[in-house]
Amino acid sequence: MAKQLIKHGQLVDDRWQALALADGATDGDAAALPIPAGQVIIPAPVWLAQRDALCSRADAGDIAVSLAPTFRVEDIAQDVQRFAMIAVEFPKFIDGRGYSTARLLRERYAYRGELRAVGNIGRDQLFYLKRVGFDAFLIPPGQDAAAALQSLNDFPEVYQGAVDQPLPLFRRRTA
């Protein structure tokens, strides 16, 4: 199978297994979701519900969380350093909440681990996603991930400071 994960500018294999909660799942459902062995991505509410039981697995690098657009990143702020990876979900690419989530994770909560954009994203979003702090992109099956990789170089320069380049152009312009 073609590699669909771009990480640090390379196409790589994805070793993570993603778990999901059904739409309308309750806190009880989150608490009851069985977590298989190995490296798993769990929805953030599952982490909150099973936190005590999962801490040691997280510290061993086996737990990543996924954040839905409606999930407030503030609610896991104190745990972010435990995660080997954080996946931000884009169910629809026109829903841009995840861009703010990414900046907050990087700039406010100093998260340095893998930050992965997943869902309905593609080459036309990658440049902006990279700028707000994503360093991994799971390109949906059927899309040409190698071509998407090229789009990370769409623009030679940027105006505003963000995560990839904290200094705005006006602090870098030469005479």
Partner: protein
């Protein structure tokens, strides 16, 4: 005006390449319509009733003659010879072929222009006062700040997929000519007691289905924090604005739902985290940009030599005097005036300019106004720096090109959206209504007698024609598949911005000229000396006008303007 450096050029050219690739993928069937739509919208490209429409950005309405000539060339080459200037100071071309758009963008880039973010759910073209830099009541020139914001918002990575569009307007004068209170974010330049520059920030204004006046967020935002505060404000909106219903997705709905104080508190809280960060503006950057808006090399005319009245007396020509009265505006430099070239000539759609008119306006700018023009949100063009001694020549030349209708601020100076003739969102046509009103009120004596009157027409609730802000507003509505028109009265723009009130059931298109005329006659009968239509409505209220509007088939006696 601002000139691109090598980096600005490289960024815009990269966008042309990117969009060329996206268009090719779409045409090759590799990009679905759904995936392409937001991408083309962020380059100003709509699919309209007849053909794609391209909206070209004219940042804060400022144009060089070279840029206007390029727009004329593009209009002649790729459209059918007429461009439409919009209330957001942009230019729309209604007959564009999709495969040609990358070439058009490339030609625009060659004169430091683009169509970036003129549509889509992102931060749009920033608008300001057409008299920026020359107005006597100016606190500070808004254009450098508009340019600083343009750069900040261009390809802002966090805010390309907002819940809905986000419009910013900025005013630098006491008298707000940029309608800042009906924008998602409105900025008023102010000076504090120490003489330092800052902004009063408003948010949550807007027209559309739920017209609301913007609420004050902060009284005095020191200029250094313009970008970080804006970033905090848009971030709160991006995170918490509604996304379930496009009609409830503008920031105004969020501000109203949680209350402006709570919204301002959330913005402040967000801002405190990023305040003084790298995006804090520097004095060097502001100076670099402001230098490019330095005044042109004005000739030193003695303050006393001429006034508009003396120029009128000297020529003793009624038509010229009228033009001086309506289309010529005060300038802070002695011996200079600003001239409005009217795009409201009866017989043409309001805001429309032909290729020949664009070229004529560019030539006038070169000869008489330092090679620059402005687009107004009332959909006219302005030559901002015309010497008094040249006014008569400018008038004659403008007249020859159909740009000298002496109707600025009068009923004939209507703001009108393209409506059902072009726009696929329309409920009703707006251009034939404007044409019928122009025809009914063709007599200039009568128009002068009526005096200042803002009449605005929108073809649907999206309110591109700002009908809520017209002293008389006309809105196209759909009733069982038929086109009807609702009338609002008492709206106002500027510092006393006010949303007009609906007077009652809507009218058929054929009734509109009579209805408007009966309301105007009511005003003429009731007005006090020197009282404008708007002020009479404010004083005597809606009922007499409502009564006149719905009075049917009654002889109205001798027409007042007979």
């Amino acid at each position: 005006m601002y000139h691109y450096d090598a980096t600005d050029k490289a960024i815009v050219q990269a966008r042309v390449r990117q969009f060329r690739g996206q268009t090719e993928r779409f045409l090759a069937g590799q990009l679905s319509e759904d995936d392409f739509r937001p991408l083309r919208l962020q380059n100003g490209l709509y699919i309209q009733r007849h053909a794609p429409m391209l909206r070209i950005a004219i940042p804060y309405g400022l144009l060089s003659s070279t840029q206007l000539r390029t727009l004329a060339d593009i209009t002649g080459r790729y459209d059918r010879g007429t461009g439409h200037f919009t209330t957001r100071q942009n230019l729309q071309l209604n007959w564009i072929e999709l495969p040609k758009v990358p070439d058009i963008l490339e030609q625009l880039a060659s004169v430091e222009m683009h169509a970036i973010q003129t549509s889509g759910n992102c931060i749009r073209n920033i608008t300001t006062d057409q008299f920026a830099g020359i107005a006597e009541d100016e606190i500070a020139d808004p254009r450098p700040w508009a340019e600083v914001l343009r750069q900040w918002s261009t390809f802002h990575p966090e805010f390309a997929y907002l819940p809905r569009k986000f419009k910013v307007a900025i005013s630098g004068s006491l008298d707000d000519r940029a309608a800042i209170r009906v924008h998602d974010m409105g900025l008023q330049l102010v000076k504090n007691d120490a003489g330092e520059i800052g902004f009063t920030v408003y948010a949550g204004g807007g027209l559309g289905r739920t017209p609301l006046i913007g609420q004050k967020m902060i009284d005095f935002l020191p200029w250094q924090h313009l970008l970080t505060y804006s970033e905090a404000l848009v971030r709160v909106y991006n995170r918490y604005g509604r996304r379930d219903n496009p009609y409830k997705a503008r920031i105004k709905i969020l501000v109203k739902a949680i209350g402006s104080e709570e919204f301002a508190r959330q913005v402040e809280e967000e801002w405190l985290h990023i305040k003084d960060g790298p995006n804090t503006l520097t004095a060097e950057e502001v100076a670099r940009v402001a230098n490019q808006f330095a005044p042109p090399a004005y000739a030193a005319y003695p303050a006393s030599t001429s006034t508009l009245a003396s120029i009128a007396a000297q020529h003793n020509d009624k038509a010229f005097s009228r033009w001086l009265e309506r289309n010529v505006h005060a300038h802070k430099v002695p011996g200079y005036a600003a001239v409005t070239l009217s795009l409201k000539t009866p017989g043409a759609a309001p805001g429309d300019a032909t290729v020949a008119q664009m070229e004529a306006a560019a030539a006038l700018a070169d000869e008489f106004s330092f090679g620059e023009l402005r687009v107004t949100h009332e959909q006219n063009l302005v030559l901002a720096d015309v010497p008094h001694k040249d006014l008569h020549a400018v008038w004659q030349r403008a007249k020859a090109s159909g740009l000298a209708s002496a109707n600025i601020g009068l009923l004939a100076d209507m703001i009108v959206c393209p409506g059902g003739d072009f726009c696929s969102l329309a409920n009703a046509k707006s251009l034939p209504i404007a044409a019928a009103i122009h025809e009914r009120f063709a007599d200039l004596d009568y128009l002068f007698d009526i005096g200042d009157l803002e009449l605005n027409i929108s073809g649907c609730m999206n309110s591109c024609g700002h009908h809520h802000l017209g002293a008389i507003g006309i809105l196209g509505v759909d009733k069982h598949g038929e086109e009807w028109y609702q009338i609002t009265l008492g709206g106002a723009q500027g510092n006393a911005a006010r949303i007009g009130e609906v007077i009652g059931r809507s009218f058929a298109a054929a009734e509109i000229p009579d209805v408007i005329e009966r309301m105007i006659e009511t005003y003429l009968a009731q007005r006090h000396a020197d009282e404008s239509f708007k002020d009479t409505v404010a004083r005597i209220g809606l009922p007499p006008f409502r009564e006149a509007a719905y009075r049917k088939n009654e002889p109205t006696g001798e027409p007042v303007h007979g």
